[in-house]
């Protein structure tokens, strides 16, 4: 049995991803913050962390990019979880349309509130209230038992905390996916991998980034993501996170690209080789 840590409370999208990745027969440990999650893994209190890294609508979660680097983590897998939001309220016998009219305050994570802006435009009497995370908001509604309060969270969180679903799929854009990576302290090497994450520290010379990226282009390797982050300890210098896919290519060809890259960069760190994630619905 492994201990898997995730940020948020039971029922959060991170929790759901952890459950799908590792199965129920493991121990899932909640962390209040992303940093706490990384601490648990580094101290050996958790075997892996389920880390949200980017969302298809709101972009990268920069804090986690930085923490992966800072804590020297290793990426062993990735998953894309479809984010479907529901409006949840405490159970009542009244008809749904009446209950919707009674709701004055809607609690949820700021990103979730942002992703449901069209819903609020259509229900102007509801006030969006920022809460620490989606599942925690659902839990709070279950405790408050107040018909004027509701939460935006997953259907799973609604079921977990005994709430009714008043409206479902209320996100503005149905193509709402969060990409999670599974991070461990301990290294491993997946010989079936078809995707890789890298961290590059470039030389401070003109064209250094172009020269580095050219090596991928020459080999016909497809980059799927590039993200720059400030380099710790330097002033306005950056390091680059790069993801690329190499399905159908020999691992040796990838290694040869790295060998050439090593000559062009100050530092190349392989964050992990892993299988490309599949799209999941929550």
């Amino acid at each position: 049995m492994k201990t898997i840590t995730y940020q948020g409370v039971e029922g959060a999208f991170s929790y759901l991803t952890a459950l799908k990745e590792f199965g129920e027969k493991n121990h899932f440990r909640s962390a209040q913050t992303f940093k706490e999650m990384f601490e648990l893994v580094r101290n050996g209190e958790a075997d892996a962390a389920v880390v949200p890294i980017e969302n298809s609508l709101v972009g990268s979660i920069y804090e986690n990019y930085d923490l992966i680097n800072q804590y020297d983590m290793h990426i062993i897998a990735e998953h894309y979880t479809k984010i479907e939001h529901c409006l949840l309220s405490y159970p009542s016998n009244e008809v749904k349309s009446e209950r919707l009219k009674q709701i004055k305050r809607v609690l949820s994570h700021p990103k979730a509130l942002e992703q449901c802006s069209h819903f609020f435009q259509g229900h102007l009497w509801m006030e969006a209230v920022v809460y620490m995370d989606t599942a925690a908001a659902a839990k709070k509604i279950a405790i408050l038992k107040d018909p004027s309060c509701a939460a935006i969270a997953s259907a799973y969180a609604g079921e977990l905390y005994g709430l009714d679903i008043l409206a479902e799929k209320i996100e503005d854009d149905p193509r709402n996916y969060t990409r999670f990576v599974i991070a461990t302290q301990k290294g491993s090497f997946d010989y079936q991998a078809d995707k890789c994450s890298l961290l590059l520290q470039l030389k401070h010379t003109p064209g250094a980034l172009v020269e580095g990226l050219k090596e991928f282009s020459i080999e016909g390797i497809n980059l799927t993501k590039i993200e720059s982050r400030p380099l710790r300890g330097s002033l306005f210098e950056y390091e680059f996170y790069i993801d690329f896919e190499f399905k159908g290519r020999n691992m040796r060809e990838v290694e040869q690209v790295f060998n050439k890259l090593h000559e062009k960069v100050n530092k190349l760190t392989v964050l992990g080789f892993y299988k490309k994630g599949i799209l999941w619905t929550s």
């Binding site: 893994v41 580094r42 101290n43 050996g44 800072q70 804590y71 020297d72 290793h74 302290q185 301990k186 290294g187 491993s188 090497f189 010989y191 710790r232 300890g233 691992m251 040796r252 990838v254 290694e255 040869q256 790295f258 060998n259 090593h262 000559e263 960069v265 100050n266 530092k267 190349l268 760190t269 392989v270 992990g272 080789f273």
Partner: protein, 271 residues
């Protein structure tokens, strides 16, 4: 790096590099990659004792090359020496380079003529203080013999402060070997030798494992034991390596291995 420091630091000693030195370009590339990974000791054998007749390494002429491409970059070179003649060459070469330069030499498992071992120890004892000596276990399983190597070396005046031991497994013989290790480890014996000699004990997972997967596996199991460091074979293009191509890790595989070796309690300086 002084072997004595190993017991006082949480960071394990990592010595990595190709099984054999093949060319200047190969060494340059390895130095560059290892430096980027924060590894400061590089192994590359010049003289290769072989199971069957084959390529025996670049030999004595490549010793200056090894020093030229490592020391100026802050890397400590490491190589196996087979004879007293090799020990003399190392001493002379190191005397000619910068003051305080360090180099690690080791006695391999096939080298079990105790008279030759003593000659080597005596020559190295009179050489520059930057010389660190390491001895591996012999090929057959015998705790007394392994301890004996240590006693022979110390009897010739080589200082224990610059001496280390390395476990590379024992020839499997006819005992069960379900994972197909090239050599079978006896971690408990290694820990007893460490305790009895008081010397840092390193692990050579490459010669125990014999294959990339096994090298990873051996290191994972060994995290339960108090090894002070690891001697790992890493090649920039393992498929085209001249020796031991099955057990040499690629740089990416080696980077993953580093995270197995350092374990969850390992804290990076920057963190």
């Amino acid at each position: 790096m002084c072997p004595q420091q190993l017991n006082t630091t949480s960071r394990k000693l990592i010595i990595a590099g190709p099984c054999a030195l093949e060319s200047r370009q190969q060494l340059k590339q390895c130095v560059q990659i290892l430096r980027q990974m924060g590894v400061s000791m590089i192994r590359a054998s010049l003289w290769k004792p072989r199971t069957q007749p084959g390529w025996e390494g670049l030999g004595s002429m490549s010793l200056p090359l090894l020093l030229e491409e490592t020391l100026p970059h802050g890397m400590i070179p490491a190589t196996e020496i087979i004879s007293a003649e090799h020990a003399l060459m190392v001493v002379h070469a190191l005397e000619r380079v910068e003051h305080n330069a360090q180099m690690l030499v080791w006695l391999g498992s096939r080298n079990q003529n105790h008279m030759e071992q003593k000659k080597i120890a005596k020559i190295l004892a009179t050489g520059p203080e930057g010389i660190i000596l390491m001895f591996k276990n012999q090929m057959w399983e015998d705790e007394k013999h392994w301890l004996g190597i240590c006693e022979h070396i110390l009897s010739e005046g080589f200082p224990s402060e610059r001496l280390m031991v390395c476990h590379r497994g024992f020839s499997p013989g006819k005992v069960p070997n379900p994972k197909g290790y090239r050599n079978l480890p006896d971690f408990e014996m290694a820990m007893r030798i460490k305790e009895k000699t008081g010397l840092p004990m390193l692990l050579d997972p490459s010669h125990i494992g014999g294959s990339k997967e096994n090298v990873m596996d051996v290191c994972t199991i060994a995290t339960a034991y108090q090894f002070d460091g690891h001697l790992v074979e890493m090649h920039c293009d393992p498929e085209n390596a001249k020796t031991d191509k099955l057990q040499q890790l690629s740089p990416s595989e080696f980077q993953a291995l580093l995270k197995i070796i350092q374990g969850p309690s390992y804290k990076r300086d920057a963190a």
